[in-house]
Amino acid sequence: MRPQVEYLYRLAWRFTGSVADAEDLVQDVLIKLFPRTQELLGIEKLRPWLARVLYNQFVDSVRQQARSPIVELATEAEGDDNPLDALPATKDGPEEQAERSGWRERILRALDRLNPEQRAVVTMHDVEGYSLEELETMLETPLGTLKSRLHRARQRLRALLPMEPFSAGERVKG
């Protein structure tokens, strides 16, 4: 499994948008797959198979989260002098700060606004390059549903990411 962990993590991060959540997702998948190591050796196209396992785990975990109780902890009134709010944004270098405040942060925020299924189809189709027909088999989801998800996801991303920041490439404020 070791050679596949980076692939799983990359996919998981694109699904979740968070290092911690991605690592948790990968961990859950590894735990699930470890007893099936011998079976994995016989799988011809391992990566699509793993992507499917990861996707199912991702969807399951999102559903499970939706059912569990939630406690919101940061409840101070607006304007309250919260020591954490007053922290400087980061102690990173200027390059990282610029990147965070620039296009990368905007894209991550936009991806966060997609629902899990939309985010997954964008990841697997637009980023990883699986065709919709491949995804139809991998995700056991009708082609029409996948097309519709992809269409809505792209439409939403375009609405959330206006033209200006992209016309100048990866321009960031200096």
Partner: protein, 210 residues
């Protein structure tokens, strides 16, 4: 072709799924419609930008830890969803306890409550709202008597390190309550020398349960 037809075919155009005739029709429309040309360029740019988005590095040692946990599912199957900082849990808790006391004395967070059933593991989700991204923030937990974090075998103090995004950050906490507890679960968040404490009352569902 009208602009509405173009909008309907944009996805197929992006994916190379148009036949020769459709492609010709679309190209002709793009040639005479600056608005749709801009839409097309925008769509391409968004796609390209999403493709170029690269994941941050995993935490150092994650692969080894993850593979190791996978071979011992009893230890790794249920755990809090933010990783502990190996080897510094107790020390961090003690240091934070001093620093947090100051904040707690001046402005305690309101206590919130969650009801759990005795001996039934349940996932409690804590949401931390952050006004800005925080890199390598430390979250420490102090569990009250009779409350356990599933998979941590009765440990009462734990610390994790994580990056917080701007806005809501969820932490999943698989808890099991073994009996009535009087104290609160205390979660403290620290970053760059500043800390903040949160308290969560754990109640037993259906009365005392004893």
């Amino acid at each position: 072709m009208e602009c509405s037809d173009f909008a309907m075919r944009l996805d197929d155009l992006l994916d190379g799924r148009l036949d020769a005739l459709q492609r010709k029709s679309v190209q002709e429309h793009l040639g005479r419609c600056p608005d749709c040309r801009q839409r097309h360029e925008h769509a391409l740019a968004v796609l390209e930008t999403v493709r170029k988005l690269s994941p941050p590095a995993m935490h150092p040692g994650f692969i080894d830890q993850a593979l190791s946990r996978a071979t011992r599912p009893a230890a790794g199957g249920a755990r809090a969803k933010w990783r502990p900082i190996v080897g510094m849990g107790l020390a961090a808790s003690l240091v934070l306890g001093v620093a947090l006391g100051v904040f707690l004395a001046t402005r305690p967070e309101p206590v919130q409550a969650v009801a759990l059933t005795i001996d039934r593991p349940e996932t409690v989700r804590l949401m931390f709202n952050s006004a800005k991204p925080l890199k390598a923030a430390t979250l420490s937990l102090a569990l009250p008597e009779n409350v356990e974090l599933v998979g941590y075998g009765g440990r009462r103090e734990l610390s994790w390190q994580t990056d917080l995004r701007e806005g809501g950050n969820l932490m999943q906490l698989p808890l099991v309550v073994r009996g009535v507890t009087k104290d609160d679960l205390v979660a403290s968040l620290s970053h760059g020398g500043n800390s903040k404490m949160f308290r969560l009352k754990i109640e037993v569902a259906g009365g005392s349960g004893m």
